[in-house]
């Protein structure tokens, strides 16, 4: 155990817990930061992961433009991105994060590794969703005179849309989790509060409050996601 941590824990026994009345002032901005962080990340992940998943699917043998080599390469990249634990990835790409954001702490520094981890995850989910669309659907759009882009938009993405929304839900929840992990590098948000107050200062009140907020947030995201999937299904 490091000196700082030992100090933190001893100090925790002497410091009073944050009073309940002070919680909103601490947690509301933190929650706002989490929302911004996850929101920005998901926008970028969607914008990058959707085309990546579409290309990965259509370069495969049954796709619209089979390219076995490119497919294998994309597959390798996606698998690599998926195989590193987030904490390891975050540390490993610090030079890259520094290059892009000019800093290694705070919200911008957290967004980079979250995007790097989230994009291959989402691309894989999209690829799986597209694979579930019967080939006959692609055929009928092609036979109707659709271009590759039209076939992708109307037959593939449109048919897989409920599954893609489901993937967005899963991905968003994973990003909430990652944002809490990113809290350890001072990224801000609920995770940061949980680490600094709950862990380092042993503040049970804050710890419990952050847990409740995370549980509630995940539940709400899941419920909204499920509702959107049901609506998208048209049945």
């Amino acid at each position: 155990m490091s000196a700082a941590e030992t100090f933190g824990r001893e100090a925790a026994t002497t410091l009073p817990g944050t009073p309940w009345s002070k919680l909103p002032e601490l947690l509301v901005p933190a929650f706002g930061e989490t929302v911004v962080m996850v929101g920005v990340v998901m926008i970028i992940v969607f914008a990058l992961g959707l085309p990546l998943g579409v290309i990965a699917h259509n370069t495969s043998p049954g796709g619209l433009f089979p390219r076995p080599r490119l497919h294998a390469a994309l597959n390798a990249v996606i698998s690599l991105g998926r195989s590193l634990p987030f904490l390891v990835l975050m540390a490993a790409i610090i030079p890259f994060t520094l290059l892009i954001t000019g800093t290694t702490i705070g919200i911008p520094a957290a967004i980079v590794p979250m995007v790097v981890a989230g994009t291959p995850f989402f691309a894989r989910l999209v690829e799986n969703a597209l694979r579930e669309v019967p080939p006959a659907i692609t055929d009928l759009a092609r036979a109707s005179g659709g271009s590759d882009l039209q076939v992708i938009a109307h037959a593939q993405i449109a048919e897989a849309w409920p599954a893609i929304i489901g993937s967005m839900t899963v991905n968003t929840i994973a990003m909430i989790e990652y944002s809490a992990i990113a809290g350890t590098i001072g990224a801000g948000g609920i995770g940061y509060v949980a680490v600094t107050y709950g862990y380092q200062r042993f503040d049970h009140t804050v710890m419990i409050a952050t847990m409740l907020i995370l549980i509630a947030t995940v539940a709400v995201v899941q419920a909204v996601g499920d509702y959107c999937v049901r609506r998208a299904r048209r049945r």
Binding site: S144, G145, H154
Partner: protein, 345 residues
């Protein structure tokens, strides 16, 4: 019009190669309905997919309305496909679009403006009898209704050629009738060239002008429908109009059994009585039927003649009468020997 020359299609799966279509030659004239029949796995759907180039042929040429399709680039192919309507074997629809929106798909792709598109879709919905279901989603439609959406979609761009891959499979007899009527009407009104794949021999008898039988990737028999029906040696003719008794082996009696086929346009209705007079032999009529097919009467009969009557005499008599006959079974030395074979579709 469709002209297919030397079309082959192989699938290679790792080191396993399979030849699914083997040097097919086939043509369908403008306004003609060609039925392609054959057992499951013969390559019928593969043939249809090659014609609209959903599957690239391994070799050979496909000319539709004077355009060689195999050499076209992607954009040119999309334009060429507008003149080919395709009805698929399974009645797939885009699940998040209504019937009307599904039918509109080819029109959207062609860039038809909204009002014109809506008008055309309405016309098509009426043509296939779905006007009151225009705004239903696929899961709210029956299989037959979905199939008719598929037909309407195939017709949306007023194609000159229609490929129908088992357009009536899974439909009840009423729906089959309405699809048959629709196809007939389309051929009549629009001069549509139709290549139709089916297992339904009754449907073939009702609308095909010509029939081709595909087996193991080859066309093994083809010809005009009526010619096949009155050719007793034609396996395809047999398939199209099986003898009414079903099983020839069940016929008893110890005599020689002949199958006789004729187009009654050329044959006197009294031919049966004439046998008696000409051959001086007793004839047993085992089965008989006369069907009107496309305004021509086609008669089928199975008759039993005394075993000792010389085959040559019988043949001579039959041909004098304009009848086509062949020996189905004769009592040979060892016992009853079956002549001819049974084939399945």
């Amino acid at each position: 019009m469709i002209t297919i020359t030397n079309l082959s299609k192989n699938f290679s799966d790792g080191d396993r190669h399979s030849i699914v279509l083997d040097a097919i030659n086939l043509s369908v004239e403008r306004g003609e309905i060609l039925a392609v029949v054959g057992p499951s796995g013969a390559g019928k759907s593969t043939l249809a997919r090659c014609i609209n180039l959903l599957g690239r042929p391994s070799s050979g040429s496909i000319v539709v309305d004077g355009v060689e399709l195999t050499g076209l680039r992607a954009a040119e192919l999309r334009v060429a496909r507008r003149s080919i309507g395709t009805i698929f074997q399974a009645s797939h629809m885009l699940s998040r679009r209504t019937a009307a929106e599904n039918i509109a798909l080819p029109l959207e792709y062609m860039g038809v403006v909204r009002e014109e598109r809506d008008a055309r879709v309405l016309e098509l919905l009426e043509r296939v009898g779905l006007a009151q279901h225009a705004h239903r989603y696929p899961h709210q439609l029956s299989g037959g209704q979905r199939q008719r959406v598929g037909i309407a979609r195939a017709l949306a761009l007023r194609p000159s050629v229609l490929l129908a891959d088992e357009a009536t499979s899974g439909l009840d007899p009423d729906n089959v009738e309405s699809v048959i009527a629709l196809l007939r009407e389309l051929r009549q009104d629009l001069g549509l060239t139709i290549l139709m794949i089916t297992h339904d021999m009754q449907m073939v008898r009702k609308i095909a002008d010509r029939v081709a039988r595909l087996s193991h990737g080859r066309i093994i028999e083809s010809g005009p429908l009526l010619d096949l029906l009155v050719d007793p040696e034609s396996q395809l003719g047999n398939l199209l109009l099986p003898s009414p008794s079903g099983e020839d082996d069940s016929i008893d009696g110890g005599g020689q059994v002949w199958r006789v086929v004729y187009g009654s346009d050329h044959v006197a209705p009294t031919w049966l009585a004439a046998i008696n007079r000409a051959l001086g032999a007793e004839v047993h009529l085992l089965t008989a039927s006369i069907e009107t097919i496309r305004r021509h009467q086609v008669g089928h009969a199975t008759i039993s003649l005394p075993a000792n009557l010389p085959e040559a005499n019988i043949r001579r008599f039959l041909s004098e009468q304009g009848l086509q006959g062949y020996l189905v079974a004769s009592p040979s030395k060892g016992g009853r020997e079956k002549v001819g074979e049974r084939i399945e579709v």
